[in-house]
Symmetry: C2
Subunit: 149 residues, 2 copies
């Protein structure tokens, strides 16, 4: 199978929003998606942005990596997921990033195995990092406590 990795354009929005929902279904949390749309021709996507580590400097964070089920798996040297993730790493390195981070659900062993086989470290296992979040009322309440100055 031949495929091309390219930056998204506004015309891709339909395909991307469809796959955002497919990814959420895969992660068993479809109810959490609060945006919508419909369509096709694009078969996968990686969404990333830059973050900053006060210890190491600029980093790239891969928020989503998704490939439609029928296009998953490793064709010889042709895996779509690997190609997408490699492209994020390449773009990140060009932008002086010293690391690529992302989050994976602990029951998602196919993905965990895939990433680890490529050399990723699980920082929750090795160093004990937990992800915490304020949202909804807890976030509102916290914001209201801010000093006025």
């Amino acid at each position: 199978m031949d495929f091309m990795i390219r930056a998204a354009t506004p015309e891709d929005c339909k395909d991307i929003s469809r796959m955002i929902m497919e990814l959420a279904v895969y992660e068993n949390m479809p109810d959490q998606v609060k945006i919508s749309h419909e369509g096709y021709t694009v078969i996968g996507y990686a969404l990333f942005f830059y973050t900053y580590s006060t210890w190491k400097g600029r980093s790239v964070y891969m928020e989503d990596l998704y490939v439609m089920p029928e296009f998953r798996g490793e064709f010889p040297g042709k895996g779509v997921g690997t190609a997408l993730m490699s492209k994020v790493a390449q773009v990140g390195k060009e932008q002086q990033c010293v690391r690529l981070q992302f989050s994976v659900l602990n029951w998602n062993t196919p993905s965990l195995d895939f990433y680890k086989a490529k050399g990723a470290q699980d920082l929750t296992d090795s160093e004990g990092w937990h992800v915490l979040r304020f949202d909804g009322e807890a976030l509102d309440k916290l914001a209201q406590m801010a000093p006025k100055n």
Copy 2:
């Protein structure tokens, strides 16, 4: 004790870099800090940036929250850490963020208790999110696998 929460300026760099090292010492990973400096008058800092969730929209990520040991603890309505974090939440809400996220080490129970008491959820415990990372040679190798197009 009186204190003020304000945006950092270039003049704060000495204080901030000192506290970045103090935070790394607290987190038992001082060797990981690859930047340096020395100084004083500023007693804490919060470093944050914006991220994006394809499920929920704009989010704010608090990379670091640090208060010097002698200024920790809850003065009545005057906790420095709470004030710093609340300010991040307030600024985030003003920028239409629907959540505030950050990472905490699992052995750091004083901090975990502090955040949970304010209403934060531990997503690693509740949903199973693990943090993964490529860096060093693994990142180089990954970037080199990117398709040429």
